[in-house]
Symmetry: C2
Subunit: 199 residues, 2 copies
């Protein structure tokens, strides 16, 4: 929903969510307090509590928002060919490199949430499984449609491609000018194909 | 230096460093207080301050300790052949998977420290540069010594291998039973070689 169509309360909620994404990404979930978030929005602590009753509720809302976006993004397996599916996913990776705040959020939260006690632990466990399966399915389908070079073993490619994306994003956060995440992913991906994808 | 050869003060210092490694890994540098660390060691807050005057000083000591270990680990380029060098580095990766505390420390701190204001930011910037250069140099040397398959482009392999290690380690922290970091790295690495490395 575009911000201009929201009620005043809805807009305030959006501002709080945006500030939470920024702060969770910058200093982690555990390093952020509700007071920090209220301060960034420019409202009082009780004003924030009117919209979200706890930090955990706010985290759930941030992650649910990502799930909505992911639903739209991941639902690409209705593409007619594996090549078309691959194109869409790599375009998505290109697009992600324009949203450093979200990348920082995921890099920080996913590392922090390896602790089984962390409130986002189950979310990230499920998400990893899902992203790995998505890419594994894509490589398998590319194989079935005869797109892979001879001798490519797809067994671990879902795991590998997911790990590569994560690791490159962290490197990019350190050296945004020097690490071309989308370019490296595209060249890496094309290394497995008989014919490279179009640009 | 082995713990039994240390003075009482030296042993206490070691206990504090170990507790800091654990807590920085579990909840991040920003999520940890000196009081938390003192509590884990079983000493008072002033007792801890006698050994380390600030959290930042303790972080520096933790990272300096890692640098000593790395110095020993990374100084493998005196190996007679690129294959021998590769063997040693992959053994090191195998060994790392037996030290989950250190892996958790690096996964959490490296994500948290992408913020340029974080006291470990410069440390991780330098470390990434160094690890990437190390692997890039290894792949280049493997090429010069005729060990790589035809058509392998080494240009980005240092970056890629480093990213893959990082990403796999995070996945492993979520699913330690299911992600075989050292095995995946070894098979990935061997995929570029004419003849696989010995086990």
């Amino acid at each position: 929903m575009a911000a201009e169509n929201l009620s005043k309360g809805g807009r305030r909620r959006e501002q709080i969510l945006s500030a939470a994404v920024e702060l969770f990404g910058e200093v982690g979930y555990r390093g952020t307090s509700l007071r920090d978030i209220a301060q960034r929005v420019g409202i009082t602590h009780p004003g924030l509590l009117y919209h979200f009753h706890s930090k955990q509720e706010l985290l759930s809302a941030v992650l649910a928002r990502r799930d909505e976006t992911d639903e739209a993004n991941f639902r690409f397996d209705d593409q007619p060919t594996a090549r078309a599916h691959a194109e869409r996913l790599l375009e998505l990776a290109d697009h992600n490199s324009t949203t450093p705040g979200i990348i920082e959020l995921f890099a920080t939260l996913s590392a922090e949430s390896t602790d089984p006690e962390h409130p986002a632990h189950d979310y990230f466990s499920r998400r990893y499984r899902r992203v790995i399966d998505l890419f594994q399915g894509l490589f398998d389908r590319l194989g079935e449609e005869g797109e892979l070079r001879d001798g490519v073993d797809t067994t671990e490619l879902g795991l590998i491609f997911t790990a590569l994306m994560d690791g490159l994003q962290v490197q990019w956060l350190y050296e945004p000018e020097q690490v071309d995440v989308a370019g490296v992913l595209r060249r890496f991906f094309n290394g497995y194909l008989r014919e490279p994808l179009g640009v």
